[in-house]
């Protein structure tokens, strides 16, 4: 099933994982099974990914998240929106975020 992500959607972090900042690395640790492809995986996000992650409060639309990011990161608005869509699509596939 194809995952559809849209900028007007509101997304929130899934409950079945723990995000930890360990020695400068942002690590996502699944609690329940089915988040990774195997049951041994943990994940990391880069600085930009972490910034998006931090703003997924289940209230703001993705467009609002992208707008907030444009004040923190260099880059044209379409590029920032593209990266937001890209990250959310991947997180949705991995069941790390949910669409509200």
């Amino acid at each position: 099933m194809e995952t559809i992500v849209d900028l007007n959607g509101v997304y929130a972090l899934a409950e079945d994982l723990v995000a930890r900042d360990i020695h400068g690395e942002f690590i996502i640790i699944p609690i329940t099974s089915g988040i990774g492809e195997s049951d041994e995986e943990i994940f990391s996000l880069n600085e930009f990914g972490k910034a998006i992650w931090d703003k997924l409060d289940g209230k703001r639309t993705l467009k609002e998240v992208a707008r907030a990011l444009s004040s923190e990161f260099e880059g044209a608005k379409p590029e920032i929106e593209r990266d937001c869509l890209g990250l959310i699509e991947e997180l949705l596939k991995r069941k790390m975020v949910v669409k509200l």
Binding site: R20, H23, I29, S33, I42, R94
Partner: protein, 392 residues
Amino acid sequence: MMPPESYVEKVFINRYPLWKSGKPLLFRLDMEFTERCNNNCIHCGINLPKDDLEAQKKELSTGEIKNILREAVSLECLSVRFTGGEPLLRGDFEELYVFARKIGLRVLIFTNATLITKHVADLFSRIPPLEKIEITVYGMKKNSYESASRIPGSFKAAWRGINLLLEKKIPFIVKGALLPANRMEIDEFEEWAAKIPWMDKPPSYSMFFHLRCRRDEQKNKCINSLRLSPEEGQRIVTRCKERYIERMKEFCSKFMHPSGDKLFSCGSGQGGGCADAYGNFQPCLMLRHPDTVYNLKKGSLKDALENFFPKIREIKALNWDYLNRCARCFLKGLCDQCPAESWMEHGSLDTPVEYFCEIAHAQARFLGLINAEEKAWEVEDWKARISNFAGH
């Protein structure tokens, strides 16, 4: 700006250095839940009877263990090993396991698998440990298994547990203990182990058994009688000669050199340690010398890692025999001599352990690093010999 190939990166924590600027203060914690075990293995260096009430009374409470785990997370620890004794013997195992996972720890479980019931397998299926469970298998047949475990029904229970993990596709690996009753089963064991989907290399074995961690002369006599001779051990270690030699070429070029008078040349107490069942924090799983353990009930993991262990690591050998032999010996990488083994064998930190010395010399002779008459600590051109052997 080009979009990245993937926004979410998988982390293979055991395959490359994850942390870009050194390791956290506590990278991995060992939690010894109990010294009690439902098996009574003939070769075991730690087990107490499962119903040893005195030992049970002294064990850390659920809350105390949770506090240690909480502090570990605050120190950026990512992985905890639950070991024992048999960790599943604790009535609060499930509570502690779920707690550890929910605070963001990966959990490595060392077990004999006999207590893995359908309920436990379902738990691991629902909340995966994120590390392969490690199971020691004492025999492929009831007779061989139970001559080691000395508990009737343990063979059936272990295989039930293993089969439940296979059925639920819960990643695990197996290890062996080479004992008189199962030595003829190595091929059978390895053939079976190779079919386990998560075994990415042949199983490891314990064969040069540790003596009792808490020192026990009576039980040590029995363990001593089960140890392979250095020559027998060397024959087993070198069964796959070519693979062994290739591996050793790389190993020797990295890890062979005299260690000098500093006793701790391993990484124990650096970035990790073991909290025993009673709240003592040890630099490694084996070292329980009273001078080297830290009481967590009166302090913290942080204090032990920042202040106590670094002092321990500076301890120098005083024993003349050690200084004359071990400190000058270039077979350090091949030899299991360490403060923990010295403590278990002799009750001190710096006494040479003859058994490990003989094993290291047998291997060095096999590799052509020394000849039949030589003692490695007397070899002066050791660097050239390693270079010749490693081919560079």
